[in-house]
Symmetry: C2
């Protein structure tokens, strides 16, 4: 594929041609030889999409909520991309695929693009390909990109590093779950959604969250963001407009206080760092394989300690 083919593909993606978008994501996802020319072709068109992360423990209705948000954003005429990130744990297996079927109602809508991505790779919960897929959707002119990830392990923290706004979904009846999760979710949430709000215990969940938010805000200044708590029944579209309104409000807050720029700088920083580390790692496995194998043998035998071995490995990194 020549550079002009890549430019053509980017141009067709910007004309909302779904196959061009899909092809570009595949090129970045598979780390194809064209990856770098694709990245270069996308760069000038980046930074326009609003990026919203959705996370929460299993069973709260994340896919249903994502689908409902898509419906609501489409009513406003917005083009919406969805990246559904599955953690590839041997213990979660295919269970999540079933959920994704709920998203099918948007399958024929050209204004919606949905991609499931398995997490993989060496650098934590979110696939290193996810930020690149986000770049494709951004450059292709999607107004909003929703990144949905199940809250297990590192991925719910990583989604925050990509998103302008992070929505934490909860549901009633999670028992001590919220208590246990307190510290973690307070840090990452810009917005709480209590889904399945018609179920027993919904009010208690909302009350717990309110107390949490109030406690955390003690001594916090007046321009800081107060995390809203929105009740939804996503399967019936109940409360979904309110979520969209809260998202808009958060976006206004982000832009008013320079926080959007800061978050996007942080995102770019994490992305550049991850790519750099991946390229260093690849150089260990490729040209440095013999060196590393030899160092590993000497560490295993006790001749060398692993830190001294690592220093030698780093000293031999080849420059790009």
């Amino acid at each position: 594929m020549s550079p002009s083919d890549v430019d053509d593909l980017v141009s067709r993606a910007r004309d909302a041609e779904p196959r061009a978008v899909a092809r570009l994501i595949s090129l970045v996802e598979d780390a194809s030889p064209q990856l770098r020319s694709v990245a270069a072709a996308l760069a000038p068109y980046s930074g326009r999409a609003r990026v919203i992360g959705l996370t929460g423990p299993p069973g709260v209705g994340k896919s249903t909520s994502t689908s409902a948000l898509v419906t609501s954003l489409r009513r406003q005429g917005k083009r919406v991309g969805v990246l559904a990130v599955d953690p590839s744990s041997p213990f979660s297996g295919g269970a999540l695929l079933g959920d994704r079927i709920r998203m099918q109602e948007h399958a024929t809508d050209r204004g919606v693009f949905i991609r499931s991505m398995a997490t993989r790779g060496h650098l934590g919960g979110l696939s290193w390909a996810t930020p690149q897929a986000l770049r494709v959707l951004d450059a292709a002119g999607f107004d909003v990109v929703l990144i949905e990830t199940v809250g297990v392990g590192q991925s719910e923290v990583d989604v925050v590093s990509l998103a302008d706004t992070t929505v934490v979904l909860l549901a009633p009846g999670m028992g001590d779950g919220i208590q246990a999760a307190k510290a973690g979710i307070l840090e990452i949430a810009d917005l709480f959604v209590v889904n399945k709000a018609d179920r027993d215990g919904a009010e208690a969940t909302v009350r717990d969250l309110k107390n949490m938010v109030a406690m955390a805000r003690r001594g916090v200044g007046g321009t800081s963001w107060r995390q809203p708590i929105v009740r939804t029944i996503a399967s019936e579209m109940d409360g979904v407009e309110e979520v969209v309104a809260a998202l808009d409000k958060h976006h206004d807050w982000l832009t008013s206080y320079g926080e959007l720029e800061q978050r996007r700088d942080r995102r770019a920083r994490a992305e550049v760092e991850a790519i750099a580390l991946e390229s260093v790692r690849a150089s260990f496995a490729g040209p440095g394989e013999d060196v590393l194998a030899d160092l590993a043998k000497r560490v295993a035998s006790g001749e060398l300690d692993p830190y001294a071995a690592a220093d030698r490995l780093v000293a031999g990194i080849s420059r790009p």
Copy 2:
């Protein structure tokens, strides 16, 4: 702390002094300035402990099983170290701490050393500190080190990279869980334990596993390892001796076929690689912070693509 203090600490740890062991683990866990001299002092004593990984989905009784294994190994006069690795997900929070209380029966036994480690850091599920803590326990003369981790995300895969033998724990009544998990657990398990074997469905779980193992072995050579399936009721010590016997058998197999050396070379390789990547990452955050911040700004503005930025970052890595 001078080099001779470190040597003194290592010597006291080798005399089974628990406080010296704990101090050494803290030094490696906190990435203290002494980390490198500790690593160097430990190296000559490494490679003696048998390393056993225990993993499985939540609720199968991992802590109870670990505790029962400790009891059984202590009856054989073996010194046992336990590293209990908690994934630091905001959604699992403190829930695992309660389980750890079950391990308290060994708290006053000098032949047992238990340490809980939170996963953290940028390089996947298992803390990069876990291999270093393992080195401390190994050098301190523990005969067996058990590494217990809950099977969510990447950690159950990472534990395999550290262990000589990996035990996958399951329990009856996990529904479709085993079906979904098939591919993943077959790859990582050297030994299956079906705990809570007095419960309904235990026989069905054992039968499913047997079929899985038989299917996977089609066409496999005669010297390959056949994963045993052991039933236990860990809370009553039922079947635990059988687990220890199966572990011994696997250890014999590992040594007979040169597989132990290969696994330990792989472990050292992963360890050296992780330390090297962490030191590269640290150089981005330290001396390279301004460079990275500038590159990130240019990526965020669309002036530069993230791959080109990463190349510049790697080109500037300072040599140790």
